[in-house]
């Protein structure tokens, strides 16, 4: 049981980490990319922009909290 719990905690830390909003935002960006591409819209630009926005929001929020 404790092995299962530590296995689950490992994957939670691996995927979600300190900021769950980044993980949720990535999931949304991937879903939107897939949806656009599936409908014939070139969406190569979406993931880099989403990553930039999520990273900026996350570090800015953390820095704001520590002031």
């Amino acid at each position: 049981m404790s092995y299962l719990r530590s296995f689950g905690r490992f994957w939670w830390n691996f995927i979600v980490g300190d900021d769950w909003r980044v993980a949720a935002g990535l999931a949304g960006a991937f879903a939107l990319t897939w949806l656009l591409e599936d409908n014939g819209v070139a969406a190569w630009w979406l993931l880099p922009l989403a990553v930039a926005a999520l990273l900026a929001g996350s570090v800015w929020g953390e820095a704001g909290g520590s002031n």
């Binding site: 991937f30 599936d38 190569w44 993931l47 990553v51 820095a63």
Partner: protein, 251 residues
């Protein structure tokens, strides 16, 4: 004769590109988090890869590589962004530079005489990242070998070209490992975060159906973009921290 040379060259170059991608990830994780678990990850991935290739052979072409790319890319991106986030906060002064080292020594102190066990403990992060990188790239090399080799009827020649490319890239990795280990820790983590996130964007995007402008060369553009964004964020946060510090502290 010339078709043999072309088959060898095409397989060699394509395999070398994939091997360099795997090497980048292995070097990045090994230098930052330690070699033991990283190399175990490489070894286990190589074993799994050998078993898959032996079991499936030419049927490899039917494995859904898009799905694999998507899963590996998304996980790499999620993990890489966590590293990048911490590296930016450290570089801009919002997190102590050695907080992980301090936490590690604290844990070791609490564990009392468990120093030997600590050094021998498995680092599952290094293992998982190295395992996935090597398995994905290894599978791509296997597809290349099967595609070039089977279509030309020269499977042995294609295997030889892929092995030669692998040996060359591993030797290159051993050469650059030493100089890399002398780079300051947070600078390295910053660079590794940029690399993992960029590969994650690239593979994850391909898995989600993206066709990158310029093909594989686009990875360089993604690395440059993620690097630039991270650099600008670090500068902006550092400026903000200095502006918020009281004048007395600054003076």
């Amino acid at each position: 004769m010339s078709s043999n040379v072309l088959t060898f060259l095409a397989t060699f170059i394509a395999s070398a590109v994939e091997a360099v991608e795997a090497l980048t990830i292995v070097l990045a994780v090994g230098v930052v988090r330690g070699w033991r678990s990283t190399l175990i990850g490489v070894g286990v991935a190589s074993l799994v890869l050998a078993m898959i290739v032996a079991a499936l052979g030419p049927a490899l072409q039917h494995i859904p590589i898009g799905t694999l790319r998507f899963v590996v890319g998304a996980l790499l991106l999620a993990f890489g962004l966590q590293w990048l986030r911490k590296a930016i906060l450290r570089a801009s002064g919002y997190k102590p530079l050695h907080d992980e080292a301090e936490a590690f020594s604290r844990e070791r102190e609490q564990a009392g005489s468990a120093a030997v066990a600590g050094s021998a403990r498995m680092d599952w992060y290094s293992f998982t990242v190295a395992f996935k990188g090597v398995l994905l790239e290894g599978l791509e090399v296997a597809f290349i070998v099967v595609s070039f080799g089977a279509t030309q009827g020269r499977l042995g020649l294609a295997v030889a070209a892929a092995v030669a490319a692998g040996v060359l890239v591993v030797v290159a990795g051993l050469v650059v490992r030493g100089p890399l280990e002398r780079v300051p820790e947070n600078t390295l983590k910053f660079a590794v975060g940029v690399m993992l996130s960029s590969f994650g964007i690239f593979w994850g995007g391909e898995g989600a159906g993206v066709e990158w402008p310029g093909g594989d060369v686009a990875i360089l553009g993604v690395v440059a973009f993620v690097g630039l964004v991270s650099f600008v964020l670090t500068r902006a946060l550092r400026r903000r921290r200095l502006a918020l510090q009281p004048a007395v502290v600054r003076g």
